[in-house]
């Protein structure tokens, strides 16, 4: 009896407290509703579709009517002869993104911050934001025109210097540099926005004090600016790792061809060419599912690491 009372008591209590709190803050809850609905409808509800990765999905039979096949599609993925290669390619491109692309917006932001002439700074900022608004189709087409063997600018230049022409578009060695240079060209400027905002919020007194102590510009950057934006850097790094396998399907797909497939085929393009184009929806879903799990694991690990290093993390 007593036990039952104990169990009932608090439950009843929280219920009434909950409804009281709901009543009191109802407008706040109404305001959060659109956001909540957005996540429910566009992020959580579609997860229902994940079950087709365990089925032999046929559109006409629908999700409920299709036959269950268990882990068949996952088995196929893991035994695919190219699987290791595709995963390696994906991770290498991701690693290059971290090593070559990630620091560049930070460096750019630091440099912009040191510019004295405001007009020049604004102008330069706008200029480096621009590429972000170009679609990959345009960027890849421009590179194609510049790099083609049949009268491309770069190859003509090489030829006029008496050097050997290089078939950039059709070579496996040049794919990765080409990819990362294009990423940097498009995203580096845009990536500076958040860092610049973080830098702007640093207390100017700190710099004054440092100057009084005789610190030069580089010292100030090293001892004030960088430590101040450290947590922003870490959060962005974790978010970046969360996107580990979002290497830009369009971008890679546009660069992909028969001659560089051995290094350019990544999980996203594989989903498209081996799955969607062949109308193998279940298989595509299974690969996508696998990709999300890898991403999730990496985010959790990165977040733990950040916390261990005494940082905030993203959750």
């Amino acid at each position: 009896m007593r036990e039952a009372n104990v169990r009932q008591g608090p439950v009843h209590g929280t219920q009434s407290r909950l409804s009281k709190r709901l009543a009191r803050n109802k407008w706040l809850y109404v305001m959060i509703l659109p956001g909540l609905l957005y996540f429910l409808i566009f992020k959580y509800a579609p997860m229902y579709g994940l079950i087709i990765s365990f089925q032999d999905y046929k559109p006409f039979d629908g999700i409920l009517g299709s036959e269950w096949v268990g882990f068949e599609h996952f088995k196929r993925l893991f035994t695919e002869p190219d699987f290791v290669n595709i995963l390696t390619n994906t991770l290498i491109l991701f690693g290059m993104n971290l090593v070559f692309y990630f620091p560049i917006p930070i460096i750019l932001a630091l440099m912009l911050n040191e510019v004295r002439l405001q007009l020049f700074k604004r102008f330069f900022q706008t200029l480096i934001y621009l590429p972000h608004f170009m679609s990959w189709v345009i960027i890849v087409s421009i590179s194609y025109v510049m790099l083609t063997m049949d009268g491309g600018m770069i190859n003509e230049l090489l030829a006029s210097l008496g050097l050997q022409k290089v078939n950039f578009l059709l070579s496996a060695e040049w794919f990765r540099p080409m990819y990362i240079i294009q990423v940097i060209w498009r995203e580096a400027g845009w990536g500076t926005i958040i860092y610049l905002a973080a830098i702007a919020s640093i207390d100017p007194q700190l710099y004054e004090a440092a100057r009084m102590d005789g610190a030069g510009r580089l010292r100030q950057i090293w001892h004030i600016t960088l430590p101040a934006i450290r947590s922003v850097i870490i959060v962005l790094l974790i978010l970046k790792i969360g996107d580990v396998l979002e290497l830009g399907f369009e971008h890679v797909y546009l660069l992909l061809n028969s001659m560089n497939r051995s290094v350019a085929e990544i999980i996203d393009t594989y989903v498209y060419t081996a799955g969607l184009q062949q109308m193998k929806f279940s298989y595509s879903t299974a690969i996508g599912f696998f990709k999300s799990i890898v991403g999730l694991v990496l985010v959790v690990l990165a977040n733990r690491l950040a916390k261990r290093m005494g940082e905030e993390g993203v959750y």
Partner: protein, 504 residues
Amino acid sequence: MIRLRIGRMAGASLIVSCALLLVLLPSCARSDQSQQAMAGGNAPTVTIMAPLHFPNEPDPGIIRSIEQLTGVHLSIEWVPDEIYADKMSTALTSDSLKKATFVKYTDYILMKNAIRSGAFWEIGGYLNDYPNLRRLSESILKQTAVDGNIYGLYTERPSSRQGIILRQDWLDELQLRKPATLDELYEVLRQFTYGDPDRNGREDTIGLTDRDDLVFGAFKTLSSYFGTPNNWGVENRKLVPEFETKAYVDTMNYMRRLYEEKLVNSDFAVTSKDVQRNMLIQGKAGAYIGSMTDVQRLSIEAKRVNPKASFTLVNRVEGPDGYRVWSIPNFNGLFLFSKNAIKTEEELKLVLQFFDRTMDSDVANLMKYGVEGRHHVKEGDKVYLPEETTQLRVDEIGSLYTLMIADLSNPNLMKVAGQDPLLEEAERLVSDNEKFLVRDPTAQLDSPTYDEKGTELYRIVTDATYHYILGQIDEAGFRKEIDKWKRAGGSQIIQEYEQAYFGP
């Protein structure tokens, strides 16, 4: 309290109105549809999804005439050909297929699963009830059958339109004859590159313009000149994939030589069809291997750049095994009838009725030749297609050709009198191709492994072929890739086709 109640009521009414909106939206769309049907005099609506091969959709006036003649309201979704396959698969997954959906023969294999799961009407039993559909070719219908059942109305194409389009004025300039053998073809391409055929004093031309397609680009046609079988060869109770034959390797060597000596555009492995055509149009390249009927549009566009450009065609190139050319199945695509869009048998009959009607003399001639006086002139019982109206025909009626069922063997269509000489020549050579066709022995055979991952596996071979042509691997390396193809499922495909071909 009162305020609270008002709030609650407002909330409730918000929900109700949202729900109402949701209910109303589709019904709005529906009433819109029925209104359109009313406009056509209460005519039933036929919805169609078809690929658009031309820059423009057909002229709305012509569509209206077709609607009047056939007594239906037409709603056609034209999808640019380049993205058609994607669009079709999206429509299939989202249950938004039209009543009649066009499927290209190259994508047909992808639809087989959907067909087997019952997504489309089986129409074999109905065909005999219609005067025109009854006359459809038994043998082509059989080629389109899935598990012996007939699901589609086919659009007919000649077996092989493959050949070589050449700059006649360049040949004349260099005093060359039209090539009749592979060696002569090589010589023509070499001179086109190094002989300055446009006489501008610079070495700025190439012989062949090719694109990133081993099948509809130059490669497969060249390979059949070399004697390669069409996809599969039969050698004493064995089926051999084409890429295991010596002729295939010979073709690769030929292409490799063209590539090394720069007689072909160096980037052909990533060249799109547009860029490929442009090189011919702009006078940068002198030869194009592909569909010979393309010559008409190529010639029109090239003359705009250089009025002196003139073209000629070659379809007979002698190889070690004499004249040969690969062929496609005689259908180029099918209209399939979705069970989701067509709910009842009565509706299906209406749609079939429409397609039957389009094969009657009045509608069929309108679709193919357009309006008399505007697009063509009548000469007795033949039509004359004046050259001045070519562009008009391309713009206003060209795209309708996709909708024509079995037009080549349709006796209701008028014959053409004295059309554009180039096109006439192209059509003459296309029918000449019939004399030395190479058929695909597996065209009507089933291999579950091929259906499952044949296309994906074929990529191994495509990649290896490009690597060989560009000199990145040697023959041993190529063999190794083929072994990879075999291990990944190729052997199984061979086995399954052999069983289907020779019987167990």
